[in-house]
Amino acid sequence: MNNFTLGRYIPIDSFMHRFDPRAKMIAMLTLMVAIFIPSGFLGYIGVFLVICIGIYTSKLNLKFFWNAMKPMFFMLGVLLIINVLVVRSGDPLITIGSFSIYTNALTQTGYIALRLIFMVMITTLLTATTKPTDLTVALEDLMKPLKKIGVPANEIAMIISIALRFIPTLIEETQRIIKAQTSRGVDLEEGSIKEKVMAVLSLIVPLFVSSYQRAEELANAMEARGYVPNRDRTRYKQLHLKMKDVVLMVVCILVLGSTIGMMIWL
C-alpha cells in the first residue's frame, strides 16, 4: 500500500492544505472543465500556471506527483503507437519506405497526454492536501441544493464517512484473515484453479461474515446514540469560506473563461 500515491492524503501543513475544501473542490471541477475545452496548447497556459502554483504551495515533493502519474505512462505509450499507425493528417515528419509518421499523430497524442497529466495532477493536488473527511463534509455542503430534488445529501455523506472510517479496519482484518488462512496452508500464488477458488473463498467468506457483524453492531451503536436516518442533525465540522478561498475560485473561473475565450478566438 505504501507506494500507492493516487488519492492519498499527506498530513502536512501548507498553504494549499489550509484552503476550504469546498473551494478546492469547485476549483478542481472548474479546471477539469477547462481541460476538456479544445482550445489548443495556448489555452492550457492558465491551467498549467495554476497547477504549478498549486504544487509549489502544497509543499509536496515533485516525486510524489511523478509517482501518481506513473501508472498512466503505459497507457500513453499504447496511445502514441496507435496514433502513429492510424493518423494520416498533417505533414509527414519521418518517412520510412511507404510508411510515414505525421505531425498530427504527435500533436494529438500530446493533447491527450497533457489533459491526462493535468487531470491526475489536479486530483492528486486535491486529495493530497485535503483530509478525506473534509472532502466528505465539502461534498455534503455542495450537494445541499440537490436535497430539494430528493437527493439524500446527508445520508450519502454519512455513508461515505463511515466507509472511510472503516477502510483501515477492514484492511487490517483482511491482512489478519490472509495470515490465518496462510497458516492453514492456503497458497494464494500457486495451485490449480480449483485451489485458487477455494483460497479466495477462504478469505471472502470470513471477511463477509465479520463485516456483516460489524455493520450490525455499528448500526446498533449509532441507533443507541440517537441516530435516526432522514432526520435533521447538526454538524460538528463547520466550514468557513475565507477571502483566499474566494480568490482561488475566482482565479480558476477566470482560467476557465480564458480557455473558452481561446477556443472562440482561435
Binding site: N2, A180, Q181, T182, D187, S202
Partner: protein, 284 residues
C-alpha cells in the same frame, strides 16, 4: 521438534521512512513438550514474534531454526509451507476464519491443503472434533449455526487436524466465560501432556499462566526482558509490578497477608500450600 531463535530482529517497512523496529535481538530456545506463556503489554512484540514461528513474517536480521529447517534473514527459504504444517498457529478470535459449509469440511481444509487425502483428512476431522470436546454429530452442521465458543473449538480442531508438533495460540481464551476459558486451558494442557506437543500461549491472564504453564517469557518494547520458570517468576509481586503486570490473585493475597503480619514463604505457589503455611503459623 525444538525451536531455536538466534539474534532475531524484525523491522516493519524496513528501508522506508515508516520503518519501525518490532523485535530486537531475540534469543530463545524451546525444547520439545514445553508449555510456555508469552506475556507482555499490548504492542510489546508478542504477535510479531509468534508470526515468525509460522514464517508469516520473516526475520530482517538473525535466524530461526525449527527442527531441521532454518529461516535466515536475507536468505531465500524453501518449504515454508511444510513449516506451517509443523507449527500450528491459532490467531486471536480464530472463529472468524471458518468459511466452509460444514464443520467437517472446515476442519479437513487445513490437512487437505497440505496434501493429505480427502478421506484421511475427514478421518482426522472426526478425531479432532472429539478432542476439542464437541460431539461427532456436529460435523455435518454449518459452523455458522454454532455459538462463539463452539466455533473457536472448531477452528482449533482445524489447526490440530494438520498434525502440528508445536501449537502456538494468541490469546485463546479472550472473550470466553470462566467455564469456557477453563475448559479451553484444560484442553491445551491435555494436548501438551497426552499428545506431547509443545504449546506456546500468548496470554494476559496471570492466573492461567500460573496454573497451566511451566515457563514464562516476558516481552517489552520488542525485547525479551525475562525468561524463566513459572515458580521463579511468581516469587514476588515486585518484579511483576516493575513489568506493569497485574499480579495474580494468589500473589495479591500473599501481599495482603504480609501487610497484616502473616508471613507466607515465596515458594508457596498454590492455594493449598499457602493455607497450610498460614495454619502452621497460627497453631504455633
Amino acid at each position: 521438534m525444538p525451536i531455536e531463535i538466534i539474534n532475531l530482529s524484525h523491522e516493519y517497512n524496513a528501508k522506508t521512512p515508516l520503518a519501525k523496529v518490532a523485535l530486537c535481538d531475540i534469543n530463545v530456545k524451546i525444547s520439545d513438550g514445553e508449555m510456555i506463556a508469552l506475556i507482555g503489554e499490548t504492542g510489546s512484540g508478542k504477535s510479531t514474534l509468534v508470526q515468525h514461528l509460522n514464517a508469516l513474517l520473516l526475520p530482517t536480521e538473525g535466524k530461526i531454526q525449527i527442527g531441521d529447517q532454518i529461516i535466515e534473514a536475507n536468505v531465500k527459504s524453501h518449504g515454508l509451507k511444510q513449516l506451517r504444517k509443523k507449527v500450528g498457529l491459532v490467531f486471536q478470535f480464530p472463529e472468524y476464519q471458518l468459511f466452509e459449509e460444514t464443520i467437517l469440511k472446515d476442519i479437513a481444509f487445513g490437512p487437505k491443503n497440505f496434501g493429505v487425502s480427502a478421506e484421511e483428512a475427514e478421518q482426522k476431522a472426526r478425531e479432532m472434533i472429539k478432542i476439542v470436546g464437541l460431539d461427532e454429530n456436529y460435523l455435518e452442521k454449518s459452523p455458522f449455526e454454532c455459538s462463539g465458543g463452539e466455533r473457536r473449538r472448531i477452528a482449533i480442531a482445524g489447526i490440530l487436524a494438520m498434525g502440528p508438533d508445536i501449537l502456538v495460540l494468541d490469546e485463546p481464551t479472550a472473550g470466553l466465560d470462566p467455564k469456557g476459558a477453563k475448559d479451553m486451558m484444560d484442553l491445551f494442557k491435555r494436548i501438551n501432556e497426552d499428545f506431547h506437543k509443545t504449546v506456546l500461549i500468548v496470554s494476559h491472564d496471570m492466573e492461567q499462566v500460573m496454573t497451566y504453564c511451566q515457563r514464562v517469557i516476558v516481552m517489552n518494547h520488542g525485547k525479551i526482558i525475562e525468561d524463566c520458570n513459572v515458580h521463579e517468576f511468581f516469587q514476588s509481586s515486585d518484579l511483576l509490578k516493575q513489568l506493569h503486570i497485574n499480579p495474580p490473585a494468589l500473589l495479591q493475597f500473599k501481599d495482603l497477608c504480609k501487610e497484616k503480619g502473616i508471613e507466607i514463604s515465596k515458594d508457596a505457589l498454590s492455594i493449598e500450600e499457602c493455607v497450610r503455611e498460614i495454619l502452621k503459623g497460627v497453631k504455633r
